[in-house]
Every structure is written in C-alpha cells, then in structure tokens.
Symmetry: C2
Subunit: 497 residues, 2 copies
C-alpha cells in the first residue's frame, strides 16, 4: 500500500488491524466511514470484534448510515455496541436493537453529523476510523465509495485511523466534493443551485498528526444484490412515470423533470430503471444512494448528472461501475450526507422524492421504520429530509405484505415517521392516490379507492364510514378503540383479515 | 384615504366594500393578506358575508395563517368557505371544519405559498384581497401588520383588491422586507445569515393594472388578549431558561444564545417574557409572530433584533407598539412567511424552537393539532418548519388538561404532527425531559419521570413496563390494544383516570 500513502512520514504509522483495534477502549465514541455497504471500514472492526469475543466490552458506533457485515454484523454478533446512530440495516444488529442490547438512535441523516458536532450525542468523537483510497502528500484523505459523515467525523476527531483499501480503484479520486458547513451562528448558504455544482475539495482535509494508525485492507465492499424487478414494482413504476408525464403536460414541471431522489431497495431501483424506456431525457438526480438503475440511465444517455453520498449498486453493478469508471465519473459526484440530504438544497432545487413505506394510513401518514409499531426495521434514513422538502413527495408500498395477510394501507399507522403534512402521493401496485390540496376525509377516499388491495378495501371503507359518522365528520375521523385493532389482530392471529 | 393612494390614476378605482365584494364569484380561489388577527382584510369579507347571507355560495379561502373575526368568523358563520388553507384559529370556522362543512388543508406554513404557485391547491389565485397602509406612485403596495403570503398571492393573482386601512399607521412603511423566491429549477439561496439581514423591497411589487378596486377601511386589527402569566407557564419558563443557561455553560451555545423562535399563545409569551429577568443580553429572534414578550425584551434593552411575519401583540401590546413605533421599528422586520419560516434559514442560523403541544407520548412524538385524534384545534402552523430544522427543538405543554382529567403525556399520541425524530426537549410544569441522543426506551423513562403529572405517572410507568416486557424490549414497546385506550376512556367517561 506504500504508493497509496503518498506522505512518506505517515508510512511509519502502518500497522496491523489488530494493533489499531487495540487502541479502542470500552465506552469510546467510535465514528466511522460507510454509508450502505459502501466505503465502510472492514479490517479494524473485524479485529475489534475478535478482541471483544475474548474480552467483552461495548463501544458507541456512529457512522454515515448502514454499513457492511464486517462492521455492524461483526460487532453486533459479539454484542459490542452500546449506542448506535444514525441508521442500520443489518440483521444481527436489528436483533440486538429489538432486544434492548443496543440503544439505537434513529435520526434524520442530514442531522447526524451536526448533532454529533453540537455535542448532543454524548461527548465528541474519540476515534474516527475511515476507509481511504489513498492519503495525499499533505495527509489529506481520499475517500472511497461513500462520503457519509466521514469528513465531519475526521474534523471532530482527535485521533484518526485510516484503512487504506487497495481494492478501491484510484480513479475514485476526484469524484468527491467535500464540504463541511460551519455551525450556527457562523453557517453560510450552501451554494448549490444544481446537482452538478461543486463547492468543496476532492479530499477530506486532515492534519497528518491526527492520523495515528494506517491499516492496509484488501476486502471489497460487500454490496447487496438486487432482486429481479417484479410485477408489483413495474406497476408502481408505471404509475409514477404516468404521473410525472402528466405533471410535465400540465406545466407543473419542466420537460426534463426536476432532480430525482429515490430511496434504496428494489422498488426505488425499478422506478429509476423504468425511465430508461421512457421518452424523458436530460434527467438529473440529487439523492443519497446511487444504484444500478442510475448506471442504466447513464448508459442510455438519459441521465446528465447524479449527485449522491454513496455508490451502492449490486455486486454486478459495482463491477460494471469499476470497469467503466472513467466514463461514469463524468456524471457522478459524492457529497457528505449533510449536503446530499440538506433540506436547504432539496427544497431549493426542488427534488422529486420517491421513497418506500412499510405502511400508510388512510389519511396519508407514513410508517417507514417499525413493524407492528414496535420492532425497528431499518430506520428513517434520509426519507424525512427529502419528503419534507421535496417539490413532490411520493411514497410507494406494496398494498399487502406477508403473503397478503397484512394490509399496508391501515386505518392508523402503528408508527408515524412522515406525517399527513408531508405526503403528496401514495402508490401501490393497485394504483396512485394524489393527495395534493385535499383534506384528510377526501384523502381517505382517494387512498382507499386507489391504493388498497381488494381484499381489504371493503374493511377500510367500512372503518372510514363508521368513523366519519361517529365523529360527525370531524377533520380526521377515527374510532379510537379500533384504530390499531388491525395490527393487534395480526399480532394475535397472524393475519389482519 | 386619498393621501394613501399616491398613484393618482388609481384613485378612480376607489369603491365601496359591497361593490368590491360583488366581483367575487362562487368557487373562486380568494387569497388574502393576514397572519393571526393582524393585517387581515376586514371590509370586503364583511360585505361578502352579507351578500352570502342572502345569496348562499362558497369560495376557497387562502391566507397567510389565521385571520380575524371579520374574515374567518364572518365567512364561516354564513357557511361561505369550501376549502380553507393553511391555518385557522376561529371558533366558528373550527366548528365548520369539524362538521364536514369546510375542507381544511392543514399545512406547513413555509409551503403554503409555494404549493399555491406550483398549482397544487387546485387552480391559481382568482383574486387577491390585501390590506395596505398605502399604495405608492408606482402602484406598489405597503403592507400593514403582517406579511404572510400576501406578496406571493399578489404576484400570482390576475386581479387585486386593496383595502387601504386608515387605522394602520404610516410609520409601518419601511418595516417590511419583501422577497418572493423563484421556483425550482431557478431558485437561488436565500441570502439571510442573521435575523436583521434585509434581502428585498419594503413594498409588495404590483403592476397597477392588476388593481381592480381600492376599498377604504377603518376597522382596527382585533388582536387577541393575552391571559395572565400563570404559575404553570412560569414553571415552564424557568425550566427552559435553566436549560439554555446550561447550554451556554457547557459551550453548546454562544453567550447571547441563538435566534429564538417561539409559538403563539400564553406559554410562549411567558417564556419570552421570562428572559426579561434573566442575565441574558444581545438576544435575537427569528420567528413567525411578534408578541408582547418581545416588546418587553426590547424595552429592557435585551433584544437587539426580531424578525417575524406578523405583529401579533395583545390589544394593549398593539397600542404600546403604535405609541412607540419609531423606536420599535429599529428592532423589527416583517418578512413573507416562506422566509420567516424557511427551513433553509432556520437550520442555517440555528433557531431555538419553542412551541406548544396538545399532547406528547412517552417516546417523544407530539400532537399539535387534534383533540382526541379526531377534532381539529388550530393546525400545525409553522411548528413543523421550526421543529424540524432548529438547533434545539423544545415543546411545552401542561402535564394535564381539562381540570386534570386528561394527561397530556400519553402512551401513544392520538395524532402525530412532530415525530420522535424531531423533538429534543419536552417541558411541562412538572419538569423537563432532555431527549437528545436517547433511544425511545430511554426517552420514555425521562418523559415519564420528569414531565408526567403525579396522578398519571404510575399508570404511564405501568404501561411502559408491561409493553417493554411483552415486546421483549423492542425498539418502541407498545401494547397495541391499550395504546389509544386512554383517549377512548376519556371519550366514553370524560376522564382518563
Ligand atoms: C420501508 C422499507 C423497510 C422497505 O424495504 P423494501 O426492501 O423495499 O421492502 P420489502 O417489501 O422487502 O419489505 C421489507 C420487510 O418489511 C416487511 N413489511 C413490508 N410491509 C410491511 C407491513 N405493512 N407490515 C409488516 N411488515 C411489512 C416485509 O415483509 C419484509 O420483511 P422480511 O424482511 O421479513 O421479508 C425500506 O425502504 C426502508 O427501510 N425505508 C426507510 C428508509 C428510507 O426510506 N431510506 C431511503 C431514504 S433516501
Ligand atoms: C397546541 C395549542 C392548541 C395550545 O394552545 P394554548 O392556547 O397554548 O393552550 P391551551 O392550554 O389553552 O389549550 C387550548 C385548548 O386545547 C385543550 N387541550 C390542551 N391539551 C389538551 C389535551 N392533551 N387533550 C385535549 N385537549 C387539550 C385545552 O383544554 C384548551 O381547550 P379549550 O379551548 O376548550 O379550553 C396551540 O399552541 C397550537 O395551536 N399550536 C399549533 C400551532 C403552532 O405550534 N403554532 C406556532 C408555530 S410558530
């Protein structure tokens, strides 16, 4: 790795992962790179987990978002995490979160770096561990496949451990745009007015004296495979494309739309992929995560520019990206998540926000995080940053879950992450409900009619009508003793039917 | 009023309120000035309501926020409103909203003007009716005691009716800073970095040809009286002052704090007034509504500058303001609500957001709008704009309501306007719960211990403990068949006990 540590003096700090992991003390706030299973640290947490196996203790783990198995998975397996923020998707960690072993703070991603800086998370960063392509002569750090909160963590940390990952191509250099805002009362406008504006440096500024250890790593990003694009996703994708085409026709959007934001997962990917076959062109993206669909759009010549904080394609997508990196680079930039998810920028440029819900209620509230109101699935991630500030806010969900036993359209969400005030459009494979400018009672009719599954539609309509008459047509009719009974029934019987 | 209509040609358009009101057709989108009972229109809606009494029909009414009795009250009384956005506080209108007579669209105030411009509210502005101090030579409009959405409505309207209110002092001229952002993809950064930055014009630009009628008006703003500052409010005010002093001590805030935002009502006013007796100085305010407490702070030499969208003091406060307007003016500016409530600006300058809740649940979700989950009280107003983007987000509520029969701390909010992701601190007269950096289960302990009323504390603790054990310590423990049972009990028996 010597050629990647361009500052010669720093080469003396190259140590094994075990040696670096030995530095970490119980109770430390350990802040790492990583956003989705991209650009996360691999060697040091693997060594740390091994150490914890013999000598049990816990740390607080702060990251950009979710990470890979070598980080969240390994540390959760040995019960080595006390507090975790701001997002996770790992099965082992999820189990720890839902059994009281881990205190999980589920946050808007745009706020995670600043809340750490403000001192709200309990102390400062004791050690930052970050994956790098290379370290420059000046000691600055070239990130890899994600930006996340890395720059802010490095800035805040007294001690930095760098994992230089030799599997990450050096061509990533120049793809990042690093900008950490000042904190109030000194903060200035973020000067982005279009997705391809560059406002920072291509590296993470770092005083080389802060770098305590450099650890070589040759483990690849273990990104998540994408499923086949199924019929349900195709239906949702069509409903959304039709809606956007109509917005253009009605003069409510320009012919090349506005910058697209799309959540993670199969539906989001299907929607983006769906544009490949559309007549749209000169599209742009301002989002968190760059997935395969966006590479498809670049290949099809339809996407002029995509701004994100992480490259999170499938394993095949990542290979494709690496093979043609020089071409893709021209169309991509990776920014810190406080910029990729900035409410200021999202509202200014007017993103079209498309995210996935676990469930929606008949009045347009959305649950993104909790199964049956109690168990954490993943977290809110950036969905709130975008949903609140978008030009148009769309949530997708299958109309049912668990083989049709659960209706994803319910009388009352068992947890609410996005309120009725933040949701413009709901889409299921059944259809699309356009809620703009409607009062709750009018929204209920749209959602039940267009989005509910036929198996549940009569039950929902019956609930709404009885609630409407019992409350004498109040603003938001509910029968409080029935509102959560569908969930209760599922918990007791395994079905909402 | 001739001297107030400085453009001589426009003087020919002076007509009676009845004549102007006759222009309005059934189903029109009528957009007016007004934010709280300040700067709303009075003569034309009064005449319109009289006309509707004889000849029943409905209009859609868009405003800045709530208005006075001559507007919302009069039109609601004759059932003359079909759709209403974005906020209301009038009793007659509230009854119409909760009986299905009015479709009420309860929105984040920062979004109300742009959603109208985007075409999301159903058509454009058919006629704008706005209260003015004066009309300039160029035909531009000098607003009165509120800015609200007036500038954007005038820009969007084909036809403008101006009510020149001779009770509004001409010294108001120069107190406004009018800036209407461009819409995406053309929007630029809002260049405010501190509360006293001026970025626009002191008048509402208006092509004189758009002005169809000018109506003289001599009815004063009927602002709302403030109650005595009661003991509960004093307790909450002390808890908040202590918290903020501690933030300064811990180095998390500068010695003069950060710009204060405070909601409407007695508690909010008490908190602001509470600073008069503190050691704090050189304070600033970036808020919606300027209330008596802020005049007190100016008098005490402690408030250097306050930015808002409406002057909404009590009747005595308004008199006080008018009497000393030349002095107060130096410390005040009124901006359009898309600027006063801008998420971009609120996050950049880092406001301290203090708003009032109807109820909070044990995990930190907040209900600002619905009584027993069904009946609309007022609306979310700007609370979401600030709560989401503040440096520190505080919600206050009395621990009980209705003579102690209702606990305002509940297992599960009957409606959610601000999610667990948006709430840092909850304050009741019992104490303060600091939720920063805590997982939901830890938050529950803080909220129950510090905020609940002793009458309900054991019941809340019992709920939490049974839910925690039933869900095996899941992220957010709930017993779904009990979660809303407190509200149901109140509906059935008149008490939660
Ligand atoms: C909501 C979210 C979980 C959906 O994920 P997905 O992979 O697209 O959807 P799936 O249909 O595979 O559902 C995931 C799981 O939730 C379950 N589920 C879905 N809807 C459900 C419902 N209404 N009730 C109960 N469980 C449900 C599925 O059965 C599946 O469970 P399994 O893993 O045990 O099979 C995911 O998008 C998410 O975490 N979103 C929040 C964060 C976010 O929006 N990030 C993007 C911001 S930029
Ligand atoms: C929440 C809000 C209604 C509180 O208003 P307030 O005047 O400070 O509080 P009050 O204690 O007088 O309560 C108002 C009413 O709600 C009732 N109430 C309060 N808490 C209640 C509860 N938990 N359950 C049922 N009713 C409750 C009160 O009894 C009172 O009813 P009444 O008018 O029939 O007497 C008000 O602040 C509001 O509308 N907020 C939302 C908008 C906002 O935050 N704007 C500022 C943004 S900048």
């Amino acid at each position: 790795i010597l050629d990647r540590v361009r500052n010669k003096e720093l080469r003396s700090k190259i140590v094994s992962a075990e040696e670096a992991a030995a530095y970490i003390k119980p109770g430390m706030n350990v802040a790492t790179s990583g956003f989705t299973p991209s650009g996360y640290v691999k060697a040091v947490p693997t060594a740390l987990a091994k150490r914890m196996e013999k000598e049990p203790f816990k740390i607080n783990l702060w990251t950009g978002a979710s990470t890979g198995a070598e980080e969240d998975g390994a540390l959760a397996k040995v019960n080595g995490i006390a507090k975790r923020m701001p997002y996770q998707t790992n099965k082992e960690l999820r189990n720890r979160v839902n059994s009281g072993d881990v205190d999980y703070i589920d946050m808007h991603l745009s706020e995670s770096a600043q809340f750490a800086r403000y001192g709200y998370m309990g102390g400062s960063v004791d050690v930052a561990i970050v994956e790098a392509c290379a370290i420059t002569e000046e000691g600055n750090i070239i990130p890899t496949t994600s930006m996340g909160n890395t720059a802010s963590f490095v800035q805040q940390a007294d001690v930095v451990i760098v994992e230089v990952n030799v599997t990450q191509p050096l061509e990533l250099e120049g793809m990042h745009d690093v900008y950490v805002p000042l904190d109030p009362p000194h903060r200035l406008p973020i000067p982005i007015v279009k997705p391809n504006d560059r406002i920072g440096t291509p590296y993470i500024p770092c005083n080389p004296e802060k770098i305590k250890f450099i650890v070589p790593c040759d483990i690849k990003d273990h990104t998540r495979p994408l499923g086949e694009i199924d019929d349900n996703s195709k239906h949702m994708s069509h409903f959304i494309t039709d809606l956007l085409n109509n917005e253009i026709k009605e003069g409510r959007m320009p012919a090349n739309l506005l910058p697209l934001q799309s959540g993670v997962g199969n539906v989001a990917n299907a929607v983006i992929h769906g544009f490949v076959e559309s007549d749209l062109k000169d599209l742009s993206v301002y989002t968190e995560v760059i997935q395969d669909g966006m590479l498809d759009l670049i290949d099809a010549g339809k996407l002029s520019f995509a701004s994100g904080t992480a490259l999170s394609p499938s394993p095949e997508g990542l290979d494709r990206f690496y093979r043609n990196i020089k071409e893709y680079r021209k169309h991509l930039v990776l920014r810190p998540e406080e910029i990729s998810n900035s409410p200021e920028v999202a509202r200014r440029i007017g993103v079209i926000a498309m995210n996935t819900a676990i469930e929606c209620d008949i009045y347009g509230n959305v649950n993104s995080t909790h199964i049956m109101g109690t168990k954490m699935m993943n977290g809110i991630g950036g969905s709130g940053d975008f949903a609140r500030n978008a030009y148009l806010t769309i949530f997708c969900t299958g109309s049912t879950a668990k083989d049709g036993k659960i209706s994803s359209i319910v009388p009352f969400c068992s947890h609410i992450d996005h309120t009725e005030h933040d949701v413009d459009v709901i889409v299921t494979e059944q259809g699309l409900a356009d809620l703009r400018g409607l009062s709750p009672r009018k929204r209920a009719k749209q959602i039940i009619e267009h989005c509910a599954h036929p198996d549940f539609k009569p039950m929902l309509l019956d609930y709404f009508e009885r609630a409407d008459s019992a409350t004498k047509h109040a603003q938001t009719p509910h029968l409080l003793n029935e509102a959560l009974s569908w969930h209760q029934k599922f918990v007791e019987t395994g079905s909402m039917k």
